[in-house]
């Protein structure tokens, strides 16, 4: 769902670039409060982790495969601001080095996957946690929603740009990603569960928030 150059019209990508730049600047400030000077090496390594984790394919349906996007995982493990910074760094590398997403579309891709897929997903996760009281269920639903939300937004942006008609692009993007999102949801919940049992101190230090409600 990395939108290439040329698929969005100027008003769409310029607006989204401005929105993403503001959101990332805010996230950078908040994240430096969360992690202090440690943030630089740690965030770099964790961005590299997200990048590496995205390379691992899992089977979806009949020979097709998907891979982790990691937005929800980054948000829940690292917090909304640090998580969004890590995802943004990954998206910049993918656009610059791998032509996975265009350079003028970078703002849109950051908006879909780092702002909506990570920051917004974090607050969704917290709301779901309060609502259901079960962190596993909350993480599952938030991870699924983050993928579908990011894909849906990409569809909306393509439709607004007149690149692809609404009645076609929205069902196509949302439909495929509703399925891929199930894999994302199961994996995200499994990762969180394993981290909780292997390094409970990372949970206690606030990386998986609302530990009291979890216990």
């Amino acid at each position: 769902m990395h939108i290439p150059d040329g698929f969005l019209d100027a008003k769409t990508w310029v607006t989204l670039s401005a929105a993403s730049a503001a959101a990332v600047a805010y996230a950078a400030r908040q994240s430096s409060k969360e992690l202090e000077e440690r943030q630089v090496p740690l965030l770099g390594v964790l961005s590299a982790f997200i990048f590496a984790a995205q390379m691992l394919n899992f089977p979806v349906v009949a020979g097709t495969s998907g891979h982790l996007l990691g937005g929800a995982l980054a948000a829940i493990l690292l917090g909304p601001w640090t998580g969004a910074m890590a995802i943004t760094a990954v998206l910049i590398i993918q656009a610059l080095i791998f032509q996975d997403g265009g350079i003028t579309a970078l703002g849109a891709n950051v908006f879909n996957m780092a702002v909506a897929g990570t920051m917004v997903t974090f607050f969704l996760y917290r709301a779901l946690l309060r609502l259901t009281g079960k962190w596993y269920l909350a993480a599952f639903l938030a991870a699924w929603a983050s993928v579908v939300l990011a894909a849906g937004l990409a569809g909306v942006e393509l439709a607004i740009s007149g690149t692809s008609p609404w009645h076609l692009v929205i069902p196509a993007m949302v439909g495929i990603h509703a399925l891929i999102g199930l894999g994302e949801a199961v994996i995200t919940a499994a990762v969180l569960s394993a981290v909780r049992s292997l390094r409970p101190d990372l949970v206690a230090s606030g990386l998986v928030p609302a530990q009291k409600e979890v216990a």
């Binding site: 390594v45 393509l158 990762v191």
Partner: protein, 236 residues
């Protein structure tokens, strides 16, 4: 996506590689902007930009094949456009824009070692926290991708379930170990850097150089050609 090819082409010596990275960034990004923003691209313009980029690639002694392969990364996305009624007419210009922009970016990143590219982006105004994160990410991606590949291969060897859910969950365990190893590595790196006096500031051994005559000459020549193609073959 192959990590060992992160910027492997940038080791090819060439006149383009030796230019100041800032002029390369400005030149190629302005081509991308023109291609994306020009309201109606004519076929002559598309051929002109393509010729300009291919000449640049040749000057940089870059092999053609990887450039073309990566520029065609936009093709799967075109399916969303082409299946619509009258979508085929739309798909042509969108493909041209996407592929030309991608080609420009491949040339930029293939003819510029990544650390130089980052320093150029930093001096052109990319926020410092992002620059620092990206420079660490560049160093550790190689290590973590290697690690991820080893773990993935081992997982493939033992993941024999026919149930998707079981496979997904066991892959979750692999990713959790990868996360913990990464996190612990990050902590060790920070501790080692703190022991050497790291205070959040990165200091470079060799201060960046200023622009030279040939950098400015390249920028002027590129801008002139870009302008000539855009205006002379613009059609409207």
């Amino acid at each position: 996506m192959q990590h060992q090819f992160f910027d492997h082409l940038s080791s090819i010596p060439s006149p383009l590689r030796d230019l100041d990275p800032r002029v390369k960034v400005v030149a190629l990004l302005s081509l991308v902007l023109v291609v994306v923003l020009w309201p109606r691209l004519t076929s002559w313009q598309v051929l002109g930009y393509l010729g300009l980029l291919l000449a640049l690639a040749r000057w940089a002694r870059l092999p053609l094949r990887p450039l073309v392969e990566r520029s065609l990364a936009v093709v799967p996305f075109l399916a969303l456009v082409a299946v619509a009624p009258r979508g085929l007419q739309l798909a042509g210009p969108i493909f041209a824009r996407g592929a030309l922009s991608a080609l420009a970016m491949v040339i930029l990143t293939s003819a510029t070692p990544f650390p130089e590219l980052l320093s150029a982006l930093a001096r052109l105004g990319l926020p410092r926290p992002l620059v620092l994160i990206l420079s660490f990410m560049y160093r550790y991606t190689f290590i973590l991708v290697d690690e991820a590949e080893r773990m993935y291969r081992a997982w493939q060897g033992r993941a024999v379930s026919r149930q998707r859910r079981v496979l997904w969950q066991s892959l979750g365990g692999v990713i959790a170990s990868l996360f913990l190893r990464s996190y612990e590595r990050g902590e060790r790196v920070y501790a080692a850097m703190a022991a050497r006096g790291f205070d959040g500031e990165i200091r470079l051994l060799s201060p960046p150089k200023g622009l030279r005559g040939r950098d400015l000459f390249f920028l002027a020549a590129f801008a002139a050609l870009l302008l000539a193609i855009t205006i002379a073959w613009g059609g409207n």
